[in-house]
């Protein structure tokens, strides 16, 4: 394994044409458990497996959380949303809510949540809700409307009842990265930008067995064979496609959810409509924004999600019922994610499909050994999904090992729950105002550098998920060129002939616990001290960040710039009116008029993400050159 690793990491001279490498001998790895998918579920599964002592590899075709995890509204469910409709889900949610507050403390904001009865929500639902909360054990207290309005002055004053529940807000980017680091510290290997192109199969009809996967490194175009005793399909909305590679039919109900973010927080408490869960009935404060969500529409393709003007208008109109005036607030962005819902034999609307987790044991279900699919569920229940999956894995592998994730905190929890003012507080305390790269989200130069050096980075969008680069009002207008410059500089410094390389000394330990802390980044604090005792040497493997490796074709500054502008543009396009339009006009002047960004050299250069950012249409010009 170590040898294979070394082989894969041998630095190739930049002159080698990527295409030629496919014909080279494919390196191979072997492991006990191979997890496919780097979202909350897959990462949680890898964490659990590694903690139980299994040799574990996780492969993710893009960056961690690039799929549904990174596109959800950020609600840490109390379960209140499901007490009436899906009580089983509600019970799971409240149990996990309590656990995650301990294991992922710094990834969660303790916002609390209101269920409010608006004039549109007449009927007996509120009483049924209250009774169902009691039955499912979701703590719920009715508070006066006056009290609710004191805490949330923008809330619809015409609401008639308010119930408070322990909802929270979660940073799914940070939580997944922290879980991944915990998994690494327990010995797992996390391979991002590694796409499964086929499953390795043994046996004939009736006695098939999945024995591993063929994986393509999407940055270097190398192919690796990974042999595994058990393959766990945690690829979410893509689970059907992976299962298909084993000849197994898994019919995911891909429910597209559209979300829009306001420019600043309109509320500091999660606001739910007290009614049967539906579209546009929830407003979540996450970091500096409020997110209104969501729609639920069955789609065919989880990859290229189209957001229609009608969907955005509908969400805003529904938002007005919670916070009158919301539709006239500045909207910075819209995006869509796909729920990986699954219900055996279900053929209705995705809105009505269960939110409960589903573990498919393909040995029992389809007669295919060595293969599990975990899907359904919600972000809030990812840890429980992982636990159930690895419980089953133990059965398959014939061992009995207890799950410890519920009592094992991930690195970084000593920072406490995150709170809105956290970054500003640290920037002020350490006087870091002069080093801001992304001014909107208060991202310092050290944060960008540290994220790029200390966790795998291919595009600026990866850094966005790490440190919130470009997520504020200007949507990358002022930080894109700065961040590109910084990455370019790091790359050059590493390529400096006087720069002494000692083996992999230029690559640093995967380190994400303090990604979001301006103060810790400025001190260059390392948390290696927090590493789990007994961690294998695997955890000391260096980070591979092609974006700052001059030998990698994706470290091209022009490519980094174009990709990120295109990516930001994608989410602004559906909300391009009013104040955000003014902003985009300025951004356009900066990049197209001042920097001539659509006539930069290397127009043909592509990263693994270029096609995705362009919506699958390679002909589209960057920004809005049309």
């Amino acid at each position: 394994m170590i040898i294979a690793y070394a082989l894969r990491n041998t630095h190739h001279p930049p002159v080698i044409h990527q295409r030629e490498k496919i014909t080279m001998i494919s390196p191979s790895l072997s492991t006990e458990i191979l997890v496919i998918g780097g979202g909350a579920t897959g990462t949680g599964v890898a964490w659990d497996a590694a903690l139980r002592g299994f040799a574990t590899i996780l492969v993710e075709k893009r960056d961690l959380t690039h799929g549904t995890t990174g596109r959800y509204h950020g609600l840490l469910h109390s379960g209140g949303r499901y007490v009436v409709k899906d009580p089983h889900s509600a019970v799971e949610c409240i149990a996990e809510n309590r656990i995650l507050r301990r294991t992922h403390t710094h990834c969660i904001e303790d916002t609390s949540g209101f269920f409010v009865v608006t004039p549109e929500d007449e009927g007996d639902y509120p009483d049924r809700f209250l009774a169902a909360c009691a039955e499912t054990g979701v703590p719920c207290k009715e508070i006066s409307v006056a009290q609710a309005l004191r805490r949330e002055p923008l809330l619809n004053p015409r609401i008639s009842r308010v119930f408070e529940v322990p909802d929270g807000a979660a940073d799914s980017f940070l939580a997944t990265h922290a879980t991944a680091q915990a998994a690494r510290q327990a010995g797992a290997r996390i391979l991002t930008y590694h796409q499964v192109v086929g499953l390795l199969m043994d046996g004939g009809e009736g006695d098939k067995r999945v024995t591993g996967a063929v994986v393509r490194d999407t940055v270097s175009d190398e192919t690796i064979h990974i042999r595994a005793d058990l393959v766990i399909n945690a690829s979410g909305a893509w689970a059907g496609q992976i299962a298909q590679m084993a000849g197994v039919g898994v019919k995911i109900i891909p429910g597209k959810g559209v979300m829009v973010a306001t420019n600043h927080r309109l509320v500091n408490t999660v606001i739910n409509r007290c009614k049967m869960p539906s579209d546009g009935d929830i407003l979540v404060p996450v970091h500096t924004v409020s997110i209104i969500g969501t729609t639920d529409e069955k789609v065919a393709d989880p990859e290229n999600l189209v957001i229609t003007p009608g969907e955005v208008q509908f969400m805003l109109a529904e938002g007005d019922k919670l916070v009158p005036g919301l539709s006239r607030a500045r909207i910075v962005r819209a995006w869509a994610g796909v729920r990986p819902l699954y219900q055996e034999g279900f053929s209705g609307d995705s809105r009505d499909a269960t939110r409960s987790l589903t573990l498919l044991d393909h040995k029992a279900r389809d007669g295919v050994r060595g293969f599990l699919t975990i899907t359904g569920g919600k972000w809030t229940t990812f840890r429980m999904m992982a636990e159930k999956t690895i419980d089953r894995a133990c059965e398959h592998l014939g061992v009995e090992r207890a799950c410890t994730t519920a009592s094992t905190p991930v690195p970084g929890i000593e920072q406490g729950h995150y709170w809105l003012g956290h970054r500003l507080h640290e920037v002020e305390a350490e006087a870091l105002q002069g080093g801001l790269v992304c001014e909107c989200e208060l991202v310092t130069r050290q944060m960008v550098e540290s994220a790029a050096r200390r966790n795998p980075t291919v595009t600026l969008d990866d850094l966005r998920r790490d440190v919130r680069l470009g997520m504020g009002p200007c949507q990358g207008g002022f930080c894109t060129y700065r961040a590109v410059g910084i990455l370019h500089e790091i790359g050059r410094e590493r390529h400096d002939p006087d720069f002494v390389l000692e083996g992999e000394a230029d690559a640093e330990e995967w380190e994400v616990a303090y990604l979001q802390s301006p103060a810790q980044s400025s001190k260059g604090q390392s948390i290696t001290a927090h590493a789990t005792p007994g961690a294998t040497t695997e955890s000391a493997l260096p980070t591979r960040s092609p974006a700052i490796d001059r030998r990698s074709p994706v470290s091209n500054p022009n490519l980094l710039l174009r990709d990120f502008l295109q990516e930001r543009w994608k989410g602004v396009l559906p909300v391009l009116w009013g104040r955000q339009l003014k902003q985009e006009r300025l951004d356009e002047l900066i990049y197209l008029s001042l920097m001539n960004a659509d006539h930069l050299p290397d127009a043909a250069a592509q990263s693994p993400m270029t096609g995705f950012y362009r919506g699958g249409d390679g002909e589209k010009k960057i920004v809005n050159g049309e």
């Binding site: 805490r151 709170w419 003012g421 500003l424 909107c440 200007c474 902003q583």
Partner: protein, 424 residues
């Protein structure tokens, strides 16, 4: 501070397009590292502020002087200075308010207290030993240009004394004198009354409170609210009856017009009535001039050969009225005047900002471009400026006397002695 309604100034953060124009014009950020600039402390930091956070997230916003140059240059309409003022109020609510700031915020109380025995008060305040003590104990800069109490009585004393000489007329105007005129510079009020009466207006001077701006600047919103309510009770009736309310202190009138309603998030009928009726005195006189109602029986203050050279600085808070430069327009009607317009951004004092030990030098550095402008005009007898603290700072920075334009106008009507500062 938390968004409390869609009218809250904080909501204007949504207008920001991050262009940085405010930061490049900010006179404070230019001279000190302590203030990272209006964009950072205003629309950016505002996204990280909320009610009831576990700690006050920021403190450097205290170095915003509140001069409003940022608002003036913002192409998008962000109420940056007001966002900062509300953030200071939140800080004050979270961390408490130092005694010094409580004192500096209480203009009216200080004025009243000193006026019982002004000579004694002046001695107590202005002897070098007290100033050293004030600096050490309170943090009020020893060199800062503090005012002196009037030793000839308050403006109201003068009004009472001259009651029988006051003009009665069908044309009436309400005068808001502000604390400085009342307790320190009653002659400014005398000049204003002289000018208004000369133009045929009866001057009504209702009892009034401090406008509340010093309290607002120091983050004491609750106390400011009390003053504001007091003023509404006494002024709203006149406003509803259609009387103009004019003031000689540009910051007081700005507070009645905009600052109090916006910072206190008040949009009630009385607030709006007073807001709509309030004028800076020259803004109102210029209206008269434009309809040929302003008397122009001026006695030239200079000659063609030797015009009266007057460097003039429009205070930042006057510019915040967004009415152009009415004083300049009206003074231009006086024969023999050579008014030189300052383009300096701010004199540096910014209300009570430059009085504070840690900010005194910042204030002087900010004011340098104004002091240099005055020096560049060659020898002059005096300068002119509409706001009291700015005049005091201007005199402190240039060692040249400074006058309110209303004094100059009254002098041009032959009603006022510009040297001795009293009505003829």
């Amino acid at each position: 501070m938390h968004t409390t309604s869609w009218h809250s100034v904080g909501n204007s953060m949504d207008e920001c397009i991050k262009c940085n124009i405010c930061t490049s014009y900010c006179p404070v950020a230019e001279v000190t590292e302590a203030f990272a600039g209006p964009k950072y402390s205003g629309p950016q930091a505002e996204r990280f502020r909320a009610l009831d956070q576990i700690a006050a997230p920021d403190h450097s916003v205290d170095y915003c002087s509140g001069c409003r140059v940022c608002n003036e240059v913002c192409p998008a309409g962000v109420k940056i200075a007001e966002i900062n003022a509300r953030a200071r109020a939140q800080m004050a609510a979270d961390n408490g308010i130092p005694l010094r700031n409580r004192l500096l915020g209480r203009n009216e109380l200080l004025g009243k207290a000193g006026s019982f025995a002004p000579s004694l008060a002046n001695f107590v305040l202005h002897n070098p030993l007290s100033r050293v003590l004030a600096e050490k104990v309170m943090g009020i800069a020893a060199e800062a240009p503090l005012p002196r109490w009037s030793t000839t009585g308050t403006f109201n004393d003068w009004l009472a004394r001259t009651k029988n000489q006051r003009l009665r007329s069908d044309k009436k105007v309400v005068y808001f004198h502000g604390c400085a005129t009342q307790y320190y510079e009653p002659f400014i009020g005398q000049a204003a009354v002289a000018v208004l009466e000369h133009n045929g207006y009866e001057v009504i001077v209702p009892p009034q409170n401090c406008c509340g701006l010093p309290l607002l600047s120091n983050g004491e919103f609750d106390a400011a609210e009390v003053y504001h309510q007091g003023n509404l009770a006494r002024l709203a009736g006149f406003a509803r009856a259609g009387y103009p309310i004019v003031g000689t202190s540009t910051s007081c009138t700005l507070t009645l017009k905009e600052e109090a309603p916006e910072l206190l998030d008040r949009h009630d009928e009385a607030t709006l009535a007073v807001k709509g009726a309030t004028w800076d005195i020259f803004e109102w006189l210029r209206e008269l001039a434009e309809t040929d109602e302003l008397r122009t029986d001026f006695q030239p203050l200079g000659t063609d050969e030797k015009p009266f050279l007057l460097p003039y600085h429009a205070p930042c808070q006057y510019r915040a009225h967004r009415v152009g430069k009415p004083s300049l327009d009206v003074l231009a009607l006086i024969p023999g005047m050579d008014v030189r317009e300052s383009r300096a951004r701010c004199c540096g004092i910014a209300g009570t900002y430059g009085y504070k030990t840690e900010k005194y030098q910042i204030g002087m550095d900010v004011g340098a471009e104004l002091f240099d402008f005055v020096a560049d005009q060659g020898p002059v007898e005096m300068t002119a400026c509409d706001s009291e603290t700015c005049r005091w700072q201007l005199e402190h920075g240039t060692h040249i006397p400074s006058r309110h334009p209303i004094e100059v106008l009254a002098a041009a009507y032959g009603l006022y002695d510009l040297e001795a500062r009293r009505a003829r």
